[in-house]
C-alpha cells in the first residue's frame, strides 16, 4: 500500500488526476489507498478516464462513493460529466499536509507543468508561467533528440563527467544548445546530465523566484519518480541532505490521492452506474475550441493537389552503367544528414536521407564507404562540398573539398531548379530559413529566432508522444474535418493549446492538421512577417524535409492563397545545392578532389573529448575531435585563441573591445570617505565614466562589479521575480551580489526616466527596465536589506539640478557633503562622460578609416551599451572580426548631423542611435549593420522593423541576431557567413571583386 492512515473517514472515495500526458486513478477505502493506476492517455482524455473506471468496476460496483477529478486536462471532463473538480496544486497541498506535515517545499514536475509549493512562512503555490517549457515532455523530446529512450537517458546521465550549460528557459532554447554539442561530438552521458541540470535550473529560476528551496523538500510527479539522474541533480544543486530530500512511493499519485481526499471531505456521492453513464455521455458533447476549415474538402481535391506537385521533379537515374565524373554534396543538418551524388548531367545518381543519430561523423563515414563501393572504378569522385551545422566537423574529418553556408547551398539548388525563383522558404528539422532573391543574389535572409523554432522535429516528437510515426500522424491531418486552431507562437505554447484542445475532446486528426497550420503560420507571421503572398514573391520555392508533409504544404498554400513549387527532393535541396557547388568549384580549380581516399576511410577513427578554453573571459566549452594521425579539430570556440598560435589571424579594429578596455582601465581611487559599488549592468555600462568620476572626486573608492559571466549570473538567479525580463536585466542581480560580497559601504544605481538628450530624437527616455530596475532590486533581493542601496531619481540634462538632488540625497542616506563639492564632482562627471562618448566616436572614425585603407568591410554590430558585455553578447564581436569585419558600435557612428527620420515615435536615447547607425550603413557600400536584440526586449519589436526599413530602402541587407542566456554561436556564424556570402555574390553580380569603398 503506497499510503495509509489518511483522514478520509470511513467509506470509499475515488480520485482521478488527468494531466497533460497521463491519467492517474486511485481508490481510497477507510483511509488507505487500495488501488492505483497510471496510464498515458494519448490525448483521448474522456475515453481513457472512462476505461480506467470501467477496469475497477469490481471495486466500485454496488457502493456509494465520493469522487473528484483533478489535473490540467481534467477540468473539461469534470465539467462535462458533472463530477467534482479540484485544482491540482490545491489537491496536492492537501495530501502533503496530511502525509508529511513537516515538509517545507514540494517540487512537482509533470508532463508539461512544473510546480513548487512553499508550506512554511506563508503558504505559497507556484506553477510554471506560459513561457517556461514543459518538463516531462521536454525530457521526452530531448531523449528523442539523442535517440535514446527516457530510461536510457537516465542511465546515461548517471555516468556523466562534465556539465554543459544548456538554456533553462524553454525546450526550444535547450534544443538549440544541445544540437551543436551533439554535432561537435560531445559525450551523450554529459549531455544527458546537462539536460537534467537545465530542468533543475529552470525550476529554481522560473518558480522559486526569490524564495530559497530548502528544509525538507518533497519531490513528486512522473519524471522525479522515474529519473534517478534528475533526482541527483536536484539534490546536488539544492544541497539537500538525505533526510531532507523526500522521494515518496506515491510520487505519481499525490494529486489523485489529494482529489480522493477532497472528494471524501466534500461528500458529493455517486455510484458506478451514474458515473460511467455521465462519462459516456460527456464523450459526445460539442466542442468549444476554435476550429479552421479542413485542409481538403474532398479526396478529389487532394488528388489534384498531389498531381500538381508531382510535376516538380529532378531527374534521378541509376548509377549502374554510368562512367564519368560525379560530385558529392553533404548536408549535415541539425537533425538530419543528407547526401547527394550527381553526374555530369546534374542528375542524381545517389541519395541518402536520415535522422542524425547523434553522431554525424559515423553516418558520413558509412555513406562514403557506400559511395566508394558503388562508384567502383567507373565513376570518379571529382569534387565534394559540405554544408549545414556539421560543416566544419565533417570537412575536417574527411577532407571535404569545399564548405558553404547552408543558405547559399539552398539558393544554389533552388536556382538550378527554377532560375526565376525569387523567394525560398526552407523548413527543416529545427530551423526555418527563408530568403528573398533579388537581382540574382540573396537579398534578405530571415532565420527563425530560438524561441520559435521546433518546426519539423516538433511534429515528429509530438507524433511519437501520441504513439504514431511522423508520416502516419501527418497523413491523419489531411482529411481532418475540424482542424484545431493552436496559435502560432513557440512550441511550448502549442503544447498548451493542444492541452486545451484535448480538454475539449479534439481528435488526433484535428490536432495533426492544426499543428501543420501552426507551423506554417509561425513561418509566415513570425519569421517572414509578410502580410500577403505578394510580399514574398512570384516564384516561391519551398523546401526542407518538413514540406514533404502534404498537410504542411497545403496549409502554406492555403494561408498564402497562392500555389508554390515544392521540388520532389524538398528534403535534399541542401545536399543537392552543395553537390552543384562542389562541381562549380572543382571545375573552376581544375584539380582532383582532396577527399579522404578509399584506403584511408578503412582506417578512419574519431574520438572526442571536452575541454575548457582559458584564453579569455568567455571560457568557451571546447570539444576536441581527434582523427587518424592525431589530426585535431576544435569546436565550440568563439575566436581563434583556442586554436593556438598557428590559427591566429590579424587583429582587426573592434570597438567593443575598445570600450571594454576603457572600462577595465578605470582605477579605484582612495577610500577617504568610504567605498561605493557600481554594478556594471544596464545603463551603468555607459554612465560608468560619470559616476566613477563623481564618486572618486568626492573621496570614495569606486568598486565596479566587473564584466559578467555565468557564475556571476547564477549568484543572483535566486531573486529574479520576472523570468521573462531580458537577460541584461536579470544579470543585474548577480552584479549586486558581487558588490555585496566585496563589502562596499553603499551601492549606487540611479533611477533614470530620462537618459541624456543627444538631440537626435523626439524624446530621450530610457526603457522601463533600465529606468526603474532599482525599484525591483530593492523589493526582491533579500541580501540588499543589509546594504545601503542608493537609487535616487535624477535628471542628467541639468547638471545644476543633478548636483542639488545628489547633495540632498547623499545627505539623507550617505554623508553630508558640501553642495559646492557635489556640484564640482557632478560637473567633472558630466565632462568625463562627454569626453568618453567623444573618444568612442573618434575611435569609430579611426576604425572606419583603417578599414578603408586596408580594404576591409565595416560591420556596425549595433545594440545597446550593455551589449558589449562578454557574457551578454557571448563574444559575437570577436566572431565578427574573425570573419574579417572591422567591427564598430552603434554609438560610435550615431552622432550624425541630420538625424534620420523614422515612422515611429523616436523617443528612446539608445534606440535613436540605432536608427542613425542604420542610416550610415545604408549610405555606405562598405558598411553593414547587424542588430543584436536581447530576447524579451519589447522595445526592439519596434526598432527592428524600423532599422530593417532604413537598410532595405537603400537596398542593403538586414541581419538581426537574437541573444539570450545561452546563444548558439553556430547559428550566429551561419547568419554572418550568409551575410558575407550574399555580399560576395552581390559583388560578383555587379562586376566588382568586392564592394566599392565609400
Amino acid at each position: 500500500m503506497i499510503l495509509e492512515n489518511l483522514k478520509t473517514g470511513e467509506g470509499t472515495s475515488l480520485g482521478i488526476d488527468i494531466g497533460s500526458t497521463t491519467a492517474k486513478i486511485v481508490v481510497i477505502e477507510n483511509g488507505s489507498v487500495i488501488y492505483e493506476r497510471y496510464e498515458r492517455h494519448f490525448s483521448q482524455v474522456r475515453q481513457k478516464a472512462l476505461e480506467m473506471i470501467q477496469e475497477i468496476r469490481p471495486l466500485l460496483e454496488g457502493k456509494t462513493f465520493s469522487a473528484a477529478i483533478s489535473g490540467s486536462a481534467g477540468l473539461g471532463v469534470a465539467k462535462a460529466a458533472d463530477v467534482l473538480f479540484v485544482q491540482e496544486v490545491f489537491a496536492e497541498g492537501e495530501i502533503v499536509k496530511q502525509a508529511e506535515p513537516d515538509t517545507n517545499v514540494v517540487v512537482e514536475l509533470g508532463g508539461e507543468d512544473a510546480k513548487v509549493i512553499f508550506f512554511k512562512g506563508g503558504l505559497d503555490e507556484r506553477m510554471n508561467g506560459s513561457c517556461a517549457g514543459g518538463t516531462g515532455a521536454f525530457i521526452d523530446q530531448m531523449a528523442t533528440l539523442l535517440n535514446v529512450t527516457t530510461q536510457e537517458l537516465d542511465e546515461l546521465s548517471l555516468k556523466s563527467r562534465q556539465l554543459y550549460p544548456i538554456a533553462s528557459r524553454c525546450g526550444v532554447f535547450a534544443k538549440t544548445d544541445i544540437q551543436p554539442l551533439l554535432n561537435q561530438g560531445a559525450a551523450k552521458a554529459d549531455i544527458a546530465a546537462s539536460i537534467y541540470q537545465a530542468v533543475v535550473n529552470q525550476t529554481i529560476a522560473g518558480l522559486a523566484q526569490g524564495r530559497r528551496i530548502d528544509g525538507k523538500v518533497m519531490f513528486l510527479g512522473g519524471p522525479l519518480y522515474y529519473c534517478k539522474g534528475l533526482r541527483r541533480r536536484f539534490v546536488e544543486t539544492l544541497q539537500l541532505t538525505e533526510e531532507n530530500a523526500v522521494f515518496p512511493a506515491y510520487a505519481l499519485y499525490a494529486v489523485a490521492i489529494g482529489a480522493a481526499v477532497y472528494a471524501a471531505r466534500e461528500q458529493k456521492m455517486t455510484d458506478y452506474e451514474t458515473l460511467v453513464a455521465r462519462l459516456e455521455a460527456s464523450a459526445n458533447q460539442p466542442r468549444e475550441t476554435t476550429v479552421s476549415e479542413p485542409l481538403f474538402a474532398s479526396k478529389e481535391e487532394y488528388e489534384a493537389f498531389a498531381a500538381r506537385h508531382a510535376k516538380a521533379t529532378v531527374r534521378q537515374v541509376s548509377a549502374d552503367g554510368y562512367t564519368g565524373k560525379a560530385w558529392l554534396g553533404i548536408d549535415c543538418g541539425s537533425t538530419t544528414t543528407k547526401v547527394v551524388l550527381i553526374n555530369e548531367n546534374n542528375e542524381i545518381i545517389y541519395q541518402y536521407y536520415c535522422s542524425s543519430q547523434g553522431s554525424p561523423v559515423e553516418i558520413v563515414r558509412d555513406q562514403l564507404k557506400e559511395i566508394y563501393r558503388m562508384c567502383g572504378v567507373s565513376i570518379t569522385l571529382a569534387g565534394s562540398a559540405v554544408t549545414g551545422y556539421g560543416e566544419d566537423l565533417i570537412r575536417h574529418a574527411f577532407h571535404v573539398d569545399d564548405g558553404l553556408v547552408e543558405t547559399m547551398a539552398h539558393f544554389t539548388a533552388a536556382r538550378h531548379f527554377n532560375p526565376k525563383v525569387d523567394f525560398i522558404l526552407d523548413i527543416g528539422g529545427q530551423d526555418i530559413k527563408c530568403f528573398r532573391v533579388h537581382n540574382d543574389s540573396i537579398d534578405s535572409i530571415m532565420l527563425n529566432e530560438a524561441c520559435s523554432s521546433g518546426c519539423g522535429s516538433f511534429i515528429e516528437t509530438f507524433a511519437k508522444s501520441m504513439g504514431y510515426d511522423v508520416e502516419t500522424f501527418s497523413k491523419l491531418g489531411l482529411f481532418a474535418k475540424a482542424p484545431v486552431d493552436l496559435g502560432s507562437r513557440c512550441t511550448v505554447f502549442m503544447n498548451s493549446s493542444v492541452k486545451q484542445a484535448q480538454k475539449d475532446g479534439a481528435s488526433i486528426e484535428d490536432i495533426s492538421a492544426g499543428l501543420s497550420m501552426s507551423i506554417v503560420k509561425n513561418a509566415i507571421y513570425k519569421v517572414i512577417r509578410a502580410p500577403s503572398a505578394d510580399d514574398l514573391g512570384q516564384q516561391i520555392v519551398v523546401q526542407g524535409g518538413t514540406f514533404l508533409n502534404d498537410a504542411v504544404l497545403r496549409s502554406f498554400e492555403r494561408v498564402l492563397g497562392r500555389d508554390v513549387i515544392r521540388p520532389e527532393i524538398a528534403g535534399l535541396m541542401g545536399a543537392f545545392g552543395a553537390a552543384l557547388y562542389a562541381r562549380a568549384q572543382s571545375e573552376r580549380r581544375g584539380t582532383p578532389s582532396q577527399i579522404i581516399t578509399r584506403e584511408a576511410l578503412e582506417h578512419f577513427t574519431h574520438k572526442s573529448t571536452a575541454a575548457k578554453c582559458n584564453g579569455c573571459e568567455n571560457h568557451c566549452s571546447l570539444t576536441i575531435n581527434i582523427f587518424p594521425g592525431g589530426e585535431r579539430y576544435i569546436s565550440g570556440n568563439r575566436c581563434e585563441k583556442a586554436l593556438g598560435a598557428q590559427g591566429r589571424v590579424e587583429e582587426l579594429p573592434n570597438l567593443h573591445e575598445f570600450k571594454r578596455a576603457r572600462i577595465e582601465a578605470l582605477q579605484p581611487g582612495e577610500a577617504v570617505r568610504g567605498t561605493i559599488g557600481l554594478p556594471l549592468a544596464l545603463g551603468m555600462y555607459e554612465q560608468i565614466p560619470l559616476w566613477h568620476t563623481f564618486f572618486t572626486r568626492l573621496g570614495y573608492r569606486v568598486e565596479i562589479s566587473g564584466f559578467s559571466n555565468r557564475e556571476l549570473y547564477s549568484k543572483g538567479q535566486y531573486s529574479i521575480p520576472s523570468d521573462t525580463a531580458c537577460y541584461p536585466a536579470k544579470i543585474m542581480h548577480g552584479h549586486m551580489e558581487t558588490l555585496i560580497e566585496k563589502g562596499v559601504d553603499a551601492i549606487f544605481y540611479p533611477c533614470l526616466t530620462y537618459n541624456v538628450d543627444e538631440k537626435i530624437s523626439d524624446n530621450h527616455y530610457n526603457c522601463p527596465v533600465v529606468a526603474y530596475y532599482s525599484e525591483l532590486l530593492r523589493g526582491n533581493m533579500e541580501s540588499l536589506q543589509h546594504v545601503n542601496f542608493l537609487s535616487p531619481y535624477l535628471n542628467l540634462n541639468n547638471t545644476g539640478e543633478l548636483a542639488k538632488e545628489m547633495h540632498r540625497y547623499l545627505k539623507k542616506y550617505l554623508c553630508d557633503i558640501p553642495l559646492s563639492q557635489v556640484r564640482a564632482a557632478a560637473e567633472a562627471g558630466m565632462q568625463a562622460y562627454h569626453a568618453w562618448m567623444e573618444d568612442i566616436c573618434r575611435e569609430g572614425q579611426r576604425a572606419i578609416e583603417w578599414a578603408r585603407e586596408n580594404g576591409k568591410r565595416i560591420l556596425i554590430l549595433a545594440g545597446r551599451p550593455y551589449h558589449i558585455d562578454p557574457e551578454i553578447s557571448h563574444g559575437i564581436d570577436k566572431l565578427c572580426t574573425s570573419l574579417g569585419f572591422v567591427t564598430i558600435t552603434e554609438d560610435s557612428i550615431a552622432m550624425q548631423p541630420d538625424p534620420v527620420r523614422v515612422h515611429v515615435l523616436n523617443q528612446w536615447t539608445y534606440h535613436a542611435r540605432l536608427y542613425n547607425a542604420a542610416q550610415y550603413a545604408a549610405e555606405h557600400d562598405d558598411t553593414e549593420l547587424v542588430q543584436l536584440v536581447s530576447f524579451g526586449c519589447g522595445i526592439d519589436a519596434i526598432t527592428t522593423d524600423e532599422v530593417r526599413e532604413i537598410l532595405e530602402s537603400h537596398n542593403k541587407l538586414y541581419t538581426q541576431i537574437k541573444i539570450d542566456e545561452i546563444t548558439n554561436l553556430g547559428a550566429v556564424r551561419i547568419r554572418l557567413r550568409s551575410l558575407l556570402g550574399a555580399l560576395e555574390e552581390r559583388g560578383m553580380q555587379h562586376g566588382r571583386t568586392s564592394d566599392k569603398r565609400g
Binding site: 527616455y765 531619481y793 535628471n795 539640478e801 515615435l905 519589447g938
Partner: protein
C-alpha cells in the same frame, strides 16, 4: 549625403483629420471598457462627431493582429490594431468617409507607439490614406478637425465616473443577484438614460448628484443574496485589465467560478497620468507651466472623484472606492512616484488599496513580456506579500499564444486557496 527630411516633413506626411472630415467621416473607436466608452462616445456625438464603437472580436480580430503587427509587440497593440483592420475589411464602412481614433499615453513605454504601429499596419493593408487620430493628453499629435475643449473634458470626466460607478456597483450586485441578468439590464437602462441626458448639452453638478443617488437606489433595489463570496481584485496593464477582449473575459470567468470581481476604476489611472506632470516638475524641475496647468485640472478631477465617493458612502449600501490621495499615500515605502511608465506606481498602490479594503486575492494581468510590469507588477509582488503575508497575488500573462486553460487554472488555484480561508 542626401539631406534628411525633418520631423516637420514627417508630420506633413501624416493624414490629417480636417475640419471638413468632422462632418463627413465616421470615427471608429476600439473597445476597452464597454460601458464607459458608450457614454464617452455619446459626448463626442453631442459635440458634432460621428463616432462608432468597435465591438468585433474573436478569431478574425486576432488573425488580423497577427498578420499586420510585429508578433513580439504587446498583445493590446495586436488586438486593437487587429480590431480596426478587421472592421475596415468588413465592408461596413465607406473607406473614404472613415477615420480611426486611438489613445496615445506618451510615456517611455512602447504603448506610445501604438499609433505608429497602427499607421504602419494600415499602410501594409492598403489603408494608408485613412486618417488616424491620436487621443492624448500629452500634446503629441494635433488634428484641426478633432479638438477637445475644456467643457467637453468636464463632460468626459462625468462619463468616466458614471462608467466607474456602473463597474463598481455592477460587480457588487452581479454575483449576488437572485434573478440572473438584473444587473446588466439595469446598466443598459441607465446607460440609455444617461446618453439621452448627455446629448441634451450641459450636465450640471446637481444633475450628476441626482443621477448618482437614483442609480444607487435602483441598484440597491436589485434582489440579492447574502451569501459570502471570495472577492478578487483585478489590477494590471490598462487594456488587459479592463478589456474583456484582452483578458479572455476575466470578470465573467471569476463570476462563473463564484467569485466577486473587484475592479479599481479608470479615474485613478487618469489622475495618475495627470499628476505625473506635477511629479516631473517636483523631481526634475521639468515643464513648470504644464505642471501648473495639470495641477488645476487635477484638483478639479480630484474634487469630482471625492463627490462621487461621498455619494456612494452616504448612500451606505455599497462599498465605496478609495480616494486617489489615499492610494497615493499607500505606495510610501514600496515604490517611488518617479516610476511613471505604463501604469507606474499606481499598479502596486492599487494592490495595497485592495488589501486595505479587505480584498486579499488579486489577479495581476499583463500582456506577455510587458516591460513596465516587470517592475511594477511582478517586481512588486514579493515586497507586498512581505508587508501582507495573507495576500494572494497571481500574475497572469495574456497574449496570442497563451491559452485560456493555463490562465484559468492559475486563477482556480488562487480561488481554491481563498475558499479555504473564507
Amino acid at each position: 549625403m542626401a539631406g534628411h527630411p525633418t520631423n516637420a516633413a514627417k508630420e506633413a506626411e501624416r493624414v490629417i483629420f480636417t475640419k471638413e472630415m468632422k462632418q463627413t467621416h465616421t470615427i471608429l473607436v476600439p473597445t476597452m471598457l464597454p460601458v464607459h466608452f458608450k457614454l464617452l462616445i455619446k459626448i463626442f456625438e453631442t459635440y458634432g462627431y460621428k463616432v462608432e464603437l468597435l465591438e468585433n472580436k474573436g478569431k478574425p480580430v486576432r488573425d488580423k493582429g497577427l498578420k499586420y503587427v510585429h508578433n513580439d509587440t504587446c498583445y493590446p497593440a495586436q488586438l486593437v490594431i487587429g480590431q480596426m483592420i478587421d472592421a475596415l475589411e468588413s465592408g461596413k464602412y465607406d473607406r473614404n468617409k472613415v477615420a480611426l481614433l486611438i489613445t496615445q499615453t506618451g510615456g517611455g513605454c512602447r504603448a506610445s507607439n501604438y499609433i505608429h504601429l497602427l499607421r504602419k499596419a494600415m499602410k501594409k493593408a492598403g489603408y494608408g490614406d485613412i486618417p488616424v487620430i491620436s487621443f492624448n493628453v500629452a500634446g503629441l499629435e494635433k488634428n484641426p478637425g478633432f479638438q477637445v475643449s475644456l467643457p467637453m473634458i468636464m463632460q468626459l470626466l462625468h462619463a468616466v465616473l458614471y462608467g466607474d460607478l456602473f463597474m463598481l456597483i455592477g460587480n457588487q450586485c452581479r454575483p449576488y443577484e437572485l434573478h440572473p441578468g438584473d444587473t446588466d439590464k439595469l446598466i443598459d437602462t441607465w446607460v440609455q438614460k444617461l446618453c439621452r441626458q448627455l446629448s441634451h448639452g450641459r450636465h450640471t453638478k446637481k444633475m450628476v448628484q441626482e443621477n448618482y443617488r437614483a442609480i444607487l437606489n435602483d441598484f440597491a433595489a436589485i434582489p440579492r443574496s447574502k451569501e459570502k463570496k471570495v472577492r478578487v481584485g483585478i489590477v494590471g496593464e490598462i487594456f488587459v485589465k479592463f478589456s474583456p477582449l484582452g483578458n479572455n473575459d476575466l470578470e465573467q470567468f471569476l463570476l462563473s467560478e463564484g467569485a466577486e470581481p473587484v475592479m479599481p476604476g479608470l479615474m485613478d489611472f487618469l489622475l495618475m497620468k495627470l499628476y505625473d506632470k506635477v511629479v516631473e516638475f517636483k523631481m526634475y524641475r521639468l515643464h513648470p507651466a504644464k505642471a501648473a496647468g495639470a495641477k488645476i485640472i487635477y484638483d478639479v478631477m480630484l474634487k469630482r472623484q471625492l463627490e462621487y465617493i461621498e455619494a456612494i458612502k452616504s448612500h451606505g449600501v455599497f462599498d465605496a472606492p478609495t480616494p486617489f490621495e489615499r492610494i497615493k499615500a499607500l505606495r510610501h515605502g514600496l515604490i517611488s512616484m518617479g516610476v511613471k511608465m505604463g501604469e507606474g506606481w499606481l499598479l502596486p498602490a492599487e494592490m495595497l488599496e485592495l488589501v486595505e479594503s479587505g480584498v486579499k486575492n488579486i489577479v495581476c494581468a499583463q500582456p506577455f513580456g510587458c516591460l513596465p510590469n516587470h517592475i511594477v507588477g511582478k517586481g512588486m509582488m514579493k515586497p507586498i506579500k512581505e508587508m501582507h503575508p495573507d495576500v494572494n497575488i497571481v500574475a497572469i500573462d495574456y497574449d496570442m499564444g497563451a491559452t485560456a486553460i493555463n490562465q484559468e487554472n492559475r486563477i482556480k488555484l488562487m480561488l481554491a486557496n481563498a475558499r479555504g480561508r473564507l
